[in-house]
């Protein structure tokens, strides 16, 4: 009965135009609590009955995003009133307790462009918590899918090709596989050099969210914009964003010895002349992850272009080949002098 009463009260509140009095805010008690609500609406991050984030959230984009089966992602950050995230000298924001990073995934040409899933990364006092929600058929709310799920979707990629895939919504553990540093969950996308606030910089409360360090943080190139960087720089940005959350000394792929962070030197541990380690079929019968000048004999390319779970990289989050991304990496490797290793 309490639930019904609350729902009625909420409906009345909306109907009476209460939002004119004050802008609605997310439910900080739920955000800060210890629960994993069964419904996304419990957090109050979206306009009731829609997949549209509250205006109080700060939308942002990324210069170079992680490829997720050509999904269009809508990202937004919530921080409690009065709190902000200082950006460290290395460009990593230090998010306060109560922060929620919201990311919705969908395709413009699937189901009217409505999102298929929304992932939350919540900064609680105990640490970051990752929760995946799948939108209900009526698009009004989303349900917790802690064990993930495969959702059949059909969409067209930029080259016009049609794809029908079993899109994988990750489970809670898979969220952590990528969002893991020293075994703890951490955000990976929002780094100062890669965040793009073009859409929200003009708003009056923009300055409340971040405080910036004295040093300038150079923007990371846009992987698909030649004006933003050289082929090599864009390729490295692509690898940093798509691979380095696992491929770093404290990530899920630490044992591979292949480290692809934006700051890593381009040497054997970056794949140049590196023989396979625990790659199994992923080596494709090739000797090196990156054979300079020879993308066809670089198994890094082979793994990016494969859909076989025993070969494909990344291991989660991809049921299609990102041919445009692979093309960039091919060009980068082809342009390397052959004697680079």
């Amino acid at each position: 009965m309490k639930r019904l009463a609350a729902a009625l009260a909420a409906a009345l509140l909306c109907a009476s135009g209460a939002s004119a009095v004050s802008e609605p805010l997310p439910d900080q008690a739920v955000i800060d609590g210890a629960t994993m609500p069964a419904k996304l609406s419990a957090f109050g991050l979206f306009r009731p009955g829609t997949s549209e984030p509250l205006p109080a959230l700060l939308p942002y984009d990324l210069n170079t995003p992680l490829f997720s089966d050509y999904a269009e992602k809508h990202r937004a950050i919530w921080m409690p009133p009065g709190e902000s995230a200082p950006i460290m000298r290395d460009g990593n924001p230090s998010f306060p307790v109560g922060t929620v990073i919201v990311k919705s995934f969908g395709w413009p040409d699937w189901n009217g462009g409505r999102p298929v899933e929304t992932r939350l990364l919540i900064r609680r006092a105990s640490g970051w918590v990752a929760l995946p929600y799948i939108w209900d058929a009526d698009g009004k709310d989303a349900s917790l899918a802690i064990a993930g799920r495969r959702v059949p979707v059909t969409f067209k990629s930029p080259d016009g090709a049609s794809h029908s895939i079993n899109y994988a919504v990750p489970n809670k553990n898979q969220c952590k596989e990528c969002h893991s540093l020293k075994g703890e969950i951490v955000p990976i996308g929002p780094k100062a050099g890669n965040m793009d606030f073009a859409a929200s910089r003009g708003r009056s409360d923009f300055s409340r969210f971040f405080t910036w360090p004295a040093n300038r943080i150079a923007p990371m190139p846009r992987w698909n914009d030649p004006k933003s960087g050289s082929v090599a720089d864009r390729a490295r940005a692509y690898l940093a964003v798509n691979c380095s959350h696992c491929h770093n000394p404290e990530g899920s792929a630490s044992n591979s010895g292949l480290f692809l962070r934006w700051t890593d030197p381009v040497n054997v541990n970056y794949g140049i002349g590196k023989r396979p380690t625990a790659a199994g079929r992923g080596s494709g019968g090739m000797d090196f992850a990156i054979a300079p000048g020879d993308p066809d004999h670089s198994f890094l390319i082979y793994r990016l272009e494969s859909l076989d779970p025993g070969i494909a990289m990344p291991e989660v989050g991809r049921s299609t080949v990102h041919s445009e991304g692979a093309a960039l990496l091919r060009q980068w490797i082809a342009e390397m002098p052959k004697d680079a290793h």
């Binding site: 439910d27 609500p37 994988a168 553990n173 002349g273 079929r281 989660v316």
Partner: protein, 401 residues
């Protein structure tokens, strides 16, 4: 927007009830028969709390996605690893690099089978004190290049016990322990893999009372460059025989270089003792000791085998079908076959077994194998001090008693 807490009072109550007594371990039973068995099983593995047991019902589970466990001190127990047990069948796998991934400590896996994964079978990473017991990981069509790489695959872990597991068909290593320390692999069978059992870039392993048969190479002890750790292992009382399966590893991987018919292979390691094993029918060699002969750029890497001891082993037939480049001519010169122990001449080793040892005469690892100067070698000498027996924490041994 302030009502949500109330709206979810019911959910909160349930969670509160579960959290109320975390000390009381519970059993979460999951059945293979549910239509969404994959999701239900994964959900159980996520919602389990420390101390809990996730119980897999008997039957065949048709799984489309890899499973994962990230909760400390959880037991995953099935109804058995053989016919009629709990069979996790990944033939239709669409995603994930392995069948089951464990990333938490004090986990006990027992009584189930993992079949036909696209990548690795069971992987545990950074999972200290893990116990693998009475498990089967198998690619049921036998040796095929399209099989997954590793069967049982603990990596970056301290205290690892692999006991009474059966692994067949891995296109790399059946039982692979990498970048770990304090390891025991015992009473297990590795059959028809490229490498039966492989200990790589690890410290302190005892590998004993196993059967490594019909692999390309039975037991491998390797150190590779550009990886975080390298370094004393005991390999003893194993039966290592008939390792005659042609190498089916994808080229480029280090195990693709293992000659068919290898019993125990030590590459670039130190403090390895191979004793009291029973060797037979290993066509290339019963024991092979070599340096790492590829280019590398790791200044900390030690490419030579050092302080390797071979003693007290029984040697059956070996060296009658040596399968490395140039071996035919060497064998012909020696009257048709090679002696049971083969050393490339790099580093140092003591061989006390009363059998022939062939050195390839290549002390400098930069010298190509084509310049081998094969000659009989006498490696009898005073061995270094015995390595201590590996002791695992009592909590681990208690699980398999």
């Amino acid at each position: 927007m302030r009502f949500h807490g109330l709206r979810h009072a019911a959910t909160l109550c349930i969670l509160a009830a579960i959290a109320a007594n975390p000390a009381s371990a519970k059993t979460i039973s999951v059945s293979a028969g549910t239509p969404d068995a994959n999701e239900k099983l994964q959900e159980a593995l996520i919602l389990a709390e420390p101390g809990d047991t996730v119980e897999l019902g008997a039957g065949t589970w048709k799984l489309t996605d890899g499973l994962s466990l990230d909760v400390n001190n959880v037991t995953v127990r099935g109804a058995g690893a053989g016919e009629g047990g709990s069979i996790l069948d990944f033939s239709g796998q669409q995603g994930a690099g392995e069948g089951l991934l464990v990333t938490s400590d004090d986990v006990f896996l027992t009584g189930f089978a993992v079949l036909n994964t696209k990548g690795d079978g069971i992987k545990s990473k950074g999972a200290d004190r893990i116990v693998y017991y009475r498990l089967r990981v198998e690619w049921t069509a036998g040796p095929k290049a399209t099989n997954g790489a590793y069967g049982v695959y603990p990596v970056e872990s301290t205290d690892v016990l692999i006991d009474s597991v059966f692994v067949r068909g891995a296109s790399d290593a059946g039982i692979y322990v990498g970048q770990s320390k304090n390891i025991v692999v015992r009473d297990s069978i590795a059959q028809e893999n490229v490498a039966g059992i492989e200990i790589e870039n690890s410290f302190d392993a005892d590998v004993h009372d196993n059967i490594a048969t019909r692999n390309t190479g039975g037991i491998l002890v390797f150190d590779l460059p550009s990886l975080p750790q390298q370094g004393g292992h005991n390999v003893f009382e194993n039966v290592v025989n008939d390792n005659s399966t042609p190498n089916f590893a994808p080229k480029g991987n280090i195990v693709a270089s293992v000659p068919t018919g290898t019993g125990v292979l030590v590459m670039a390691n130190r403090n390895v003792e191979i004793f009291d094993n029973v060797f037979d029918l290993n066509g290339t060699a019963n024991v092979m000791i070599v340096g790492y002969r590829y280019d590398h750029k790791d200044p900390n890497y030690q490419p030579l085998p050092k302080q390797i001891v071979v003693r007290g082993n029984q040697h059956g037939k070996a060296g009658y079908a040596p399968a490395f480049d140039g071996a035919d001519q060497i064998a012909a010169a020696l009257g048709g076959s090679l002696p049971p122990v083969l050393w490339d001449g790099a580093g140092d080793a003591v061989v006390l077994d009363d059998v022939g040892v062939l050195s390839l005469g290549l002390p400098d690892i930069k010298t190509p194998r084509s310049e081998a100067k094969p000659q009989p070698a006498n490696l009898k000498g005073t061995p270094p001090a015995r390595l201590p027996e590996i002791k695992l924490p009592e909590s681990m041994e208690a699980k398999v008693k």
